[in-house]
Amino acid sequence: MSEPAGVIHDIGYQRYTGPRLSRGAVFGALYLHGLRTVFGFGRSAKAKIFPWLVVGIVTVVAAGAAAVRSQIGEVVMTYAQFADNMSWLVIFFVAVAAPELVSRDLRSGVLPLYFSRPLPRSDYPLAKLLALVTALWLLLGGPQLVMFLGAAFTTKDGMRGVWNELLDLLPGLLYAGLWAVVFASIGLLVASLTGKRAFAAGGIVAVFLMTTPIVGVLSIMPSRAVNELAFLASPSTLVQGVGVWSLGDLLITDDAAEAAGSLIGDFGPVYALAAVLLVAACVTLLLARYRKVATR
């Protein structure tokens, strides 16, 4: 019997005998998916507005700084200072990105579909965390690259000038990495506590903003040690403290230098240790949170 053309044949169910990828490949897929989510790829146009608005602002600021420097020859801000100046934008970026990464999944109940798959349950939060860290680092590091390119192409010292510029850029990128790690781990932990995105965003902003007055109060207390340790109280000032200690004149330029040097006194290592402990605590709590979520 001849069959009419264009008939779609139901070939039935096909078993799959091909390769199944390793844990690392699955982790990578989840990581990339998270990174795309942060910037709104694979999402509605609405989800792209905010991330790309922030990307636009930081790029314009960096391009402006590069332009001023090439025309007037005045360094508006160093690479590390750029990260500091953009910290408010980073806070809002985290407040939008972290709930997008984890609160959505908590709310829609999709997590059992992840945890019923081979992926170990710690991989889910870790892949999301890594994606957010990468996104924040790109957000702060990308514009620094713009500033570097601007400076490198207008330098008057030839290759030596480019090399010197590169030596300035690398600590700046590391400093951006520190911002990214601290902000991402706090933001993701807060967001993982609730399925409501608005609550998560509010919570994240609160953690960063509400702690700032504490720094203000502590820094006017009549004790020098308390003043010098005051910046531990808020994540943003904690990161800046580590920056002041480790980067010195790359972060603090000219007249402010002397004053800044005395801001944290000799407590630099304390700030570094506090930053490490803060991140470690956040990651531990995040993993504990998902151990609990997975069994529900």
């Binding site: 699955v26 992840y114 019923s116 081979p118």
Partner: protein, 304 residues
């Protein structure tokens, strides 16, 4: 091969709530119905089978693997359809199932192909490119089934797959599950609190109540000789019973009724003959189909 085997499996939650108590059961591949009232321990059992919850005591094996120590290997070969809503509303079914296929270790292009296939098998075609948020409950249930199927598991664990569906939707879902279990060659464990539903499609039935095993057997073993003739006569019930017993029919009394297992058509004739010979006023003679539910009905009170 034994598909799922548990041995004295017990799960006690923190608050002293016992979800599973000394459950020992072994089932062969096929379609298995797991029935029990809400809170009987079905979902807890599924989570233990997936290695998501550790049992308090006892042993468990799934596909000859131990989910407590080899949970990743178990989960690679098992597909799970949860009871509750599990779909992000703004993703399309195609995107979601593809992504979850990749989470099961499928390469990117394979995941996309198999996602389309799985969605086609559950009956979603063009609508798979629309956001899940606009789907009907029936379509959402199908997407949940497709994501459990995308990585070609050897065993599907379906938690209340007919929840929230209208009668037509239930029939379609049950037919689909039956097809997966028979044509696709994938074993299926279907959880339900509706016995009448699962008994239609499954080969094996496991009934639990309060975390204890009520009964586990092949459905054929449960339903054999379950067709029964009920005879009611206005008087002379004793005489008729004696006469039927003389014909070597295994008669049993149930109130004013005499119940006779229906062996073949000759049983009718024998009964009618006996009634006629004794000249008794026959009130009624009808055939009853024993529902599996009745098999449990007599047992359940003993556990309460």
């Amino acid at each position: 091969m034994t598909l799922i085997a548990t041995e004295s499996l017990t799960k006690t939650y923190g608050g002293g709530v016992t979800a599973l108590a000394d459950l020992t059961v072994a089932v062969e591949p096929g379609i298995i119905g797991l029935v029990g009232a809400n809170g009987a321990g079905k979902s807890t059992l599924i989570k233990i089978l997936l290695g998501l919850l550790p049992p308090t005591s006892g042993r468990v094996r799934v596909l000859d693997l131990d989910p407590t120590t080899q949970s990743d290997q178990v989960r690679a070969r098992v597909g799970y359809m949860p009871e509750h809503d599990a779909l992000p509303p703004d993703l399309s079914a195609a995107e979601l199932v593809t992504h979850l296929g990749r989470m099961s270790g499928l390469p990117r292009t394979v995941a996309r192909e198999r996602a389309s296939e799985a969605l086609r098998h559950v009956g979603l075609y063009e609508e798979r490119y629309r956001p899940v948020g606009g789907y009907s409950t029936g379509m959402k249930q199908r997407v949940k089934l497709a994501q459990a199927l995308v990585h070609d598991p050897d065993l599907l664990l379906l938690d209340e797959p007919t929840n929230g569906l209208d009668p037509a939707g239930r029939d379609a879902m049950l037919a689909l599950i039956h097809r997966i279990g028979t044509e696709f060659g994938i074993s299926v464990l279907v959880c339900s609190h509706l016995l009448g539903e699962v008994e239609r499609i499954c080969d094996t039935l496991v009934a639990i109540d309060g975390g204890r095993l009520l009964r586990a057997d092949h459905i054929s073993a449960m339903t054999t000789a379950t067709d029964v003739l009920a005879v009611e006569v206005s008087e002379g019930t004793e005489e008729l019973a004696a006469r039927l017993a003389a014909y070597r029919l295994p008669v049993s009394r149930e109130g004013r009724l005499l119940l006779v297992p229906l062996a073949d058509e000759a049983t009718y004739d024998l009964i009618l003959g006996a009634v006629a010979e004794l000249d008794l006023p026959l009130h009624r003679l009808d055939q009853r189909r024993h529902r599996v539910a009745e098999l449990f009905a007599t047992r359940e009170p003993s556990h309460v």
